[in-house]
């Protein structure tokens, strides 16, 4: 789920205000935007690129590696199914508040066709100096400078802060993988960790988690097998506990989900868990120097 500069990107919902703003930013940064979709504006050009009605139509004319969706919540399921049907292999879903049943439906369809979904509710992907997909401030050199640290984050704003802290500490970022803040998402913390572990340009990994769910615990199982250093910050130590999901929630979640559970699972796997985001670059700098 790392995005590379050579990949062609279709912007679904390109004519909207956010779609236009971010498509323009992505293109200026080096992302190969090949066009976009809007069912009502097919045949027009927008940002000097073609507009198709659907991803399926676009795929008949050109090869598409990645689709990024600037689509309102209740339109996401149909747009994602369109992208999957079009054979697009990587689908980045930025939208917040997608109904979870819709997410589960589109993920089942994606799994069947071998498409990788990132999100929903992700800020996107960045490969520093090459391209970005989504709405991360990749173009801000104080936040993104090329380097060796891969960053995984459920949150865009917190991921931005962590990248900034890395750059302030004199480190740089190989790739940023925003996985999304929803309870059910296509690409998990563990998936992103495996992908960055395989990435030859990434020498160390910063993992930004949040309380709730069990993705950090699952990532910890993989981290045990890694040689690249990993440092983590888990947000939510001071947050009031969330609502309990009845007996069923307790049965399915067990003891996972709390700050303490995540911290101890990660630490047992050799991951340094820092008290503030600013601790992460310090740890990684030390571990990169001694590697």
């Amino acid at each position: 789920m790392i995005v590379r500069g050579g990949e062609s990107v279709l912007v679904m919902g390109i004519t909207g205000k956010q779609g236009t703003f971010w498509a323009d930013k992505m293109r200026a940064y080096g992302t190969r935007i090949i066009g976009g979709t809007n069912p009502k504006r097919a045949g027009e050009t927008h940002l000097e690129r073609p507009v198709w009605a659907t991803g399926t139509d676009a795929a008949k004319e050109t090869r598409i590696d990645c689709a990024v969706m600037f689509i309102p919540p209740f339109g996401v399921k149909a747009a994602a199914l369109d992208a999957i049907e079009a054979g697009i292999g990587k689908i980045v879903c930025l939208t917040e508040h997608v109904p979870v049943h819709d997410t589960m439906y589109l993920l089942a369809a994606a799994r069947e066709r071998g498409a990788q979904v990132i999100g929903p509710n992700t800020a996107g992907l960045v490969t520093t100096g090459e391209c970005f997909v989504g709405f991360m401030p990749a173009f801000n050199e104080r936040v993104f400078r090329p380097g060796e640290v891969g960053v995984i984050s459920r949150s865009g704003s917190l991921g931005t802060l962590l990248c900034l802290n890395l750059v302030q500490a004199g480190l740089g970022i190989s790739s940023f993988v925003g996985i999304g803040g929803d309870p059910i998402i296509g690409t998990t913390t563990r998936d992103a960790l495996e992908s960055l572990d395989r990435d030859p340009r990434t020498k160390a990994i910063a993992l930004v988690g949040e309380i709730g769910g069990s993705m950090e615990e699952q990532a910890a199982e993989y981290a045990r097998t890694m040689t690249k250093p990993v440092a983590a910050f888990i947000a939510g130590a001071a947050s009031p506990p969330g609502r309990k999901m009845g007996h069923a929630g307790a049965i399915v979640m067990g003891n996972r989900g709390s700050y303490a559970a995540k911290k101890s699972a990660l630490e047992a796997a050799g991951v340094s868990v820092c008290a503030t985001p600013n601790g992460v670059p310090e740890v990684l700098r030390g571990r990169l120097a001694s590697a």
Binding site: M136, S157, L158, P183, G236, G249, I251, N278
Partner: protein, 377 residues
Amino acid sequence: MNFEEYAAKPLLRAVGIETPRSGLATTPDEAESVAREIGPCVVKAQVPTGKRGKAGGIKLAASPAEGRAHAGRILGMTIGEHRVERLLVEAQVPIAKEMYAAVLNDPDSKGPLLLFSAEGGMDIEEIAEQHPGALLRLPVDIRKGLDRGALAAALPKELPADRAALIDTLARLYDAYAENDAELIEINPLVLTRDGKLVALDCKLVIDDSAIPRHEALAKSGTPDKATELEAKAKPLGLKFIELDGNVGVLANGAGLTMTSMDAVRHFGGEPANFLEIGGESYTKAKPALELVLANPRVKALLVNFCGAFARTNVMAEGVVTAWQELKPDIPIVFTIHGTSEEEAIALVRDRLGIEPYDLMDDAVRAAVAAATGASQ
């Protein structure tokens, strides 16, 4: 959104799952008259929390007079922070066997998960832990719905109830889950009556908040989140606001960064006064957000932490600075701003408020905590 038992059970009835005859009561008089109509009954506190029975909120009544007496004692009780204002008065059912059934969104399989146990009742969590084999976990492909054949094959060979009837009830439960965008629908206990019927004695329901716009009629019977006066004001503005006990006001964008700001306040020896996130599509609402934070008299210093990805920091900063100049609060404010459009945002704070934002969040948080502590002494 949570639904109490009385609001959840109609959804079971709508898919053809039987529930006992019942009526709602908010006074002992009403409880007595429902009891007179339905005979021996159970008086059940309606509060959005578990362990009602252990708290004394569920009582059997053999007569209308006893129902009235129980209602008098239960109404006004506090169960897990919730005051009992409503009772469900329900016909007693002759129980032969208690079972357990639920369908929920499962993050591990990324799809619906059906849970069933022939052993049910209050101790289901212990049963699941000590006898994991006694609990059936069946992942469902949401595109196809519940596969009755797969369910039949997965159910234990020995069942306390009629196999076909049980499969039918579980399939109906799945329908109620699917039709209503449920995060969770749980029947505990699902009972086999002595005359051989399957009846849902309790129901817990949570509907996905993101799906509420397509279930507006249903949402009217949901339990509103327990909110303070200020929290209630935040809701129509589309802001996520939680009041806390500390004295450092926190204003940040995005749930992750807001939580982190609170964590950092505590880490550096302070206590946050609130959780207030203005991320996502609400990032233009910095002004009403600031008004909410400042309406809390405990706030002695304000930490503004913006890290713009999607949210443009200049838009958020403009809102805060304008509101600050209008409201002229008499407390220190500390900024740290990064990300999309940060140059404009920082210049704006510097020029209009004469304040220099901190480059490091940790430094900003230390300053805010020190200012709040100084002001409190």
